[in-house]
Symmetry: D2
Subunit: 289 residues, 4 copies
């Protein structure tokens, strides 16, 4: 039995989202003061960098304005365009489903890994999550550090506490905690993307957030946690947070525009696409100020 297993019943497939209560949502709605929305998502396109181990994004037009320019008929005057996307579900800004990673052949809440087959995840699919509406908290490590963190920079518990202090908030159960490392901004500035090195959380800092009963940990990097991993470990923060605590991870956030607002808490919204048995979903998370 791991930390959060059985905490919400043996059949639970929503993990840490259970920390979000009705009052959490009501209080979060009360944070809206300016009446402004800020998207936290990267643009999705074939030029979006993806790790070499994953296929890239394709976007195809099935009909477009060129077809009409080339003489296509227009019954009833109607003209239209449409399109199809081919998209790996862990590219760009996306949420990791609770079936995305595990160890010892067992998923969060004790489900067998054999529930996840070519036909999709019979348990813990991203379609089980539902929309996420809660308080968002921005931890701005770029501001704490004075500059974007370097690749390989390991964010530990002390640094995390410092960022919480700087934010001037007390973490509450159900919070969506968003970590700004500066990685995304460096990426946007051009140059090749190295998916093998990034600043991010170490295990101790991850557990600090998990023990605070947060609902979600997001970051402006590729994997939330620091890369390369500590010697002998592979995605240790994923292993502990996703599988043992049932915590949702949100990767590839764009946080600089939000950070520029100087606001630490806000209404946070993210609605994963209910893709049956999927291990993740692209999302366009929103901060409402």
């Amino acid at each position: 039995m791991k930390e959060a297993w059985g905490r919400w019943g043996d059949a639970d497939e929503r993990g840490s989202l259970n920390h979000i209560s009705a009052s959490t949502i009501r209080d979060a709605a009360g944070l809206v003061r300016q009446g402004r929305t800020i998207s936290l998502a990267q643009t999705i396109s074939p030029s979006l960098p993806v790790p070499k181990s994953r296929p890239g994004i394709m976007h195809f037009m099935g009909r477009d304005g060129g077809d009409y320019a080339a003489g296509r008929r227009r019954p009833g005057g109607f003209q239209f365009s449409d399109d199809t996307i081919v998209m790996p579900l862990h590219a760009g800004t996306h949420i990791d489903g609770l079936c995305h990673c595990w160890y010892d052949d067992t998923l969060y809440n004790g489900f067998a890994a054999t529930e996840v087959r070519s036909s999709g995840a019979a348990r813990l699919g991203v379609d089980k999550l539902g929309p996420i509406v809660t308080r968002g908290v921005l931890l701005d490590f770029v501001a704490v550090n004075g500059s974007p963190l370097a690749d390989g920079y390991s964010i530990g518990a002390a640094k995390t506490k410092a960022a919480i202090d700087r934010a001037g908030v007390t973490l509450q159960p159900g919070d969506a905690v968003l970590l700004r490392t500066g990685w995304q901004e460096r990426l946007e500035a051009g140059g090749d993307v190295d998916f093998d090195a990034e600043p991010g959380l170490d295990v101790e800092a991850g557990l600090l957030l998990a023990e605070a009963d947060v609902a979600l940990v997001g970051a402006d990097n590729f994997a939330v946690e620091v890369l390369p991993f500590a010697a002998g470990t592979v995605f240790p923060v994923h292993q502990r947070l996703v599988r043992d605590y049932g915590i949702l991870l949100l990767e590839g956030l764009v946080l600089a525009p939000l950070a520029a607002e100087g606001v630490s808490e806000f209404l946070f919204l993210a609605a994963p696409l209910p893709i049956h048995g999927a291990t993740g979903s692209p999302v366009n998370p929103v901060a409402v100020l």
Copy 2:
């Protein structure tokens, strides 16, 4: 020049979303009382019905629990699954971008249809919209009618006013108006889906909503408007609302659970994926009560 062209400047690519002001968002946030979220989206899967003219959805696992059961190595103990989706962007619950349809070779706000090519829409792509946070208003035609509307049932202006009266609300600029016809519920009950017939808006009713300066018109059917079309017309509501008024259409909603709550107004959220140059986006719209 059509009704809304130039209203927000010659370069505008967001159309009726401009009706959503800061006070609209603040007021909408104030509607949150229960602290509950309701997803308005269909589950996405290969078995989701799509019109014959569109490709279906594919979902592929690139790694899964079966691979480990078959002996795959697990460096550092880490195990994971991931997946890729092939998805037409006008399937299931989705928003139509303003570049999705037009007539006379000209799009909303006077942009040339030739801006929309195989490489995507250089203008009016769904990536230009940004997140949608506003007041949602449910118009429950099933309740007004006493039963789900029949295929081919044309919702006119009088019926629309009756539904507004029943809802007990006054339409405001920036509203997201959601129409429950009962089509989706009949579909869920099984049986073949006929994408050539559905209950929906007629042009007059569509214009009634457009002139009320709503931001978005959604429905629990495939095309918002009634099918089959009036003789000699093809998607006349799309032509007028999308191209002339710049109004966002949201199709394939699941509204029965929301209707069961007996609430007519609520905080409405929908965040299209910022797919570069896309003509539409799947969304998981949310009502927060």
Copy 3:
């Protein structure tokens, strides 16, 4: 140990193709008299019928003439079009790889089924086959029967011998035996395709061909063997021929034009695409008369 296991060594991944010797190829080339080619393949398009359990075909243009009509630049005068296909590998006219089916968790030649994972088939992939050049023999059951065979018609050993007699040939090791049932022609005539019923081989007839050391059994139906299956069995001919004899199956052939030539033997060519670890490949098989 099954019939053909170990026959060509423990590492063999080409099965019955080993029956094709240098003299087989030389003799087959000697059958070319008219100097004419006949394609035996169906056209590949999104409208190609596929079983409900498989995704359909998609074909997307990434650039086309419409783009230039819409004003796209043409550096150096050069204009082009290109495209991408999304294709299930067991649709239309295709060859089954030896890793495509099995029983008792063991593939042809004793390889473990766990060699076939999400990353593809480490053993017996279609890329191991190489081009197929041999004598083709047409067994025309439509001619023998006097009309196309009915769905569910089971072709037994006696009927098979009758068709061989009618062809006036003696089966030789390495032959590609092509069975015309008339199913494809009925399909082309329109109407819905029922992938649950077709005329085809029974097990006894399949074994008759297998014991004759043929290299390949092709047919103008969906599964070579009769559907529905005999009670209590599922794809029994596939189980025996592919897994126990290592015989290549070729499905979805178009054989009416070849049958119209009145020629029973010919140079036969089929070159599977060498897709790494794939379980099948679309092919355009050719008869050269």
Copy 4:
């Protein structure tokens, strides 16, 4: 009117393949002496290099042995695997359809470029070609040169004549001429692929082959012609050969194994997949010795 336009009628969509006569095929079959086949194709996989402007290849298993290891049921004992490929049609070893490139808005034989739209090519699609069976002639520039040609090396008419002399053959109408530059072998040796530079034909050499009435020009590089282009030109050989002469180009060949045989002429087979309206097709071309 260009060189080959109208030569085989105004409706012709097969271009230079018309040079292949019955006697061409019969004579080619007569070249089979050893009874051996050599595949000239690259392996198709997600790791196949493609130019940055094109999407890569994806290969997905829809069912595999891991699923059974994870406990999937096996009705009637039957177990199977299947898969789907996502493949740009101008990747790896492929044939260019006659609709693939043009200039002045007009395709081979005078067809309008507006025939090529999002729905595919209504004219000159690769499905119009049919199987290619003819004499193959290997021109081994690596042997002539003494080593693989350098990137940017321009093969002119004199060099081409020297290679023909070395081969000891006289070009005949309908020949499939295959050019070995050594590019592919260098590529296979590892290292990054540079699709902007390769050895290949110049225009004069291309015209020399075209005027010899060859049916097809293939090469072991990415574009048959030399890259970078002569100043002010873009794919000049493509423009002239495909559009003006209707000549089929075959790119990405693997020719080293064939060259090692020391044979200059052989039976050549290539059967494009009949993809409706496609601009190209992957092929597994075969030399039969």
